[in-house]
């Protein structure tokens, strides 16, 4: 009898813990968890002073009156960052077509070793970035970069072939500095729809 009580307790506790741990059986991978948490429990991104490809120092994520769409890249990346760059080009085009003001596109590099201002400017050039909408920027030191990556939930792995492998997406930061949504790297329409509903 006591075994049955113990089993009932264990099963209840087990299912309950699994339910809590997976956000109600919604998120089974860290990537899903990151996206789920952006929508349901948006965290505040700390303000960060970044150096742009134009050489300016700008403070981001601190009560600016605009939404910021953020992607993480390194300029020598042959795979996901090029897809992200293309998505930003498309997004930039659509923002111009729709005449949507008050939206900032921001590519942040995590390759501080290689990506100086020249590399960032080349990346901006290659993807046709319009300075008034799209900035490419680098954090000022490793510590600041690590904090940013942690806040956004980006994990960068060393890779022998491509230098880095990393997760990513289109991250939307609200004017009050919260990470409110994450879309697939190619999901330009999803991101645009979200932004149009909010602005």
């Amino acid at each position: 009898m006591r075994t049955i009580i113990a089993c009932a307790f264990i099963c209840t506790a087990g299912v309950w813990l699994a339910y809590l741990g997976t956000d109600g059986f919604h998120a089974f991978t860290a990537e899903q968890a990151r996206r789920y948490s952006a929508i349901h429990n948006p965290v505040k991104v700390e303000p960060a002073r970044l150096t742009t490809h134009l050489g300016d120092e700008i403070e981001f994520f601190s009560n600016r009156d605009q939404y910021v769409v953020v992607e993480f890249i390194f300029t020598h990346c042959p795979t996901i960052c090029q897809a992200l760059g293309r998505s930003f080009s498309q997004l930039q085009g659509k923002l111009e077509d729709e005449n949507l003001d008050g939206i900032q596109l921001l590519s942040i590099t995590f390759d501080l070793e290689v990506d100086g201002q020249t590399e960032l400017a080349q990346f901006a050039d290659r993807h046709g970035a319009d300075d008034s909408i799209w900035l490419v920027a680098r954090p000022q030191n490793e510590k600041q970069l690590a904090r940013l990556l942690k806040r956004f939930g980006i994990v960068v792995l060393d890779d022998p072939l491509y230098r880095f492998v990393h997760n990513g997406g289109l991250h939307i930061v609200s004017p009050d500095g919260r990470l409110v949504a994450i879309f697939e790297p190619e999901d330009v329409d999803g991101a645009l729809e979200f932004l149009m509903a909010r602005t």
Binding site: T3, I10, T22, F28
Partner: protein, 187 residues
């Protein structure tokens, strides 16, 4: 074990095929000690090993979810939880309960364990997504193919007794002893 943890966790195969089993095996021996020393309490609270096996099954399912494996690499609390729950929740509970479990339950667990491993191998091999942010997809696929021989070996080991009884195991043991003795005698 602290200095070697980063090495073990630096690669998905080492993490899943070496570290996790070692943690579980360490726990198994703790479980055997519990089984030998606390039998009266176990007979009340853990008849047929039901309670212990329930905990072990839930622990196993929990750590099979990629999210938690990932979290154990980036955050200290899940990492600590892993070092505690796999030896105690999985290894020790199984070790303390295994001999009390009826044969059908043991068979059921073995078969389910195998099918779960097959499912994982298939998932890691076929998933177009990188399931853990901390491990690249290549490592995920590598793990899948390393699981295949392990699954086959476990399948054979699990099948011998029900198919042929204990005889082949004893015969195999005797034969290898004989072979060893002959070799030792000749050289």
């Amino acid at each position: 074990m602290w200095p070697i943890a980063p090495w073990l966790e630096g690669n998905m195969s080492r993490h899943v095929l070496i570290q996790l089993p070692l943690l579980a095996i360490a726990g198994w021996f703790i479980g055997r000690l519990i089984y030998e020393n606390f039998r009266p309490a176990l007979l009340v609270w853990n008849r047929h090993g039901a309670a212990g096996i329930s905990i072990a099954v839930f622990t196993f399912i929990f750590w099979m979810i990629p999210r938690f494996l990932d979290a154990s690499l980036s955050d200290p609390i899940p990492a600590f939880a892993k070092y505690i729950t796999i030896p105690l929740g999985f290894g020790a509970c199984l070790g303390a309960s295994w001999d009390m479990a009826p044969a059908w339950l043991r068979g059921f667990l073995k078969v389910n364990f195998l099918s779960m491993l097959i499912f994982l191998a298939w998932l890691y091999a076929a998933s177009p997504d990188q399931l853990c942010n901390n491990y690249a997809r290549d490592e995920q696929r590598e793990l899948a193919f390393r699981l295949v021989p392990i699954i086959c070996a476990l399948g054979v080991i699990f099948a011998i007794r029900p198919l042929f009884g204990g005889v082949p195991i004893k015969a195999g043991f005797a034969l290898s002893c004989l072979a060893y003795l002959r070799k030792a005698g000749l050289s």
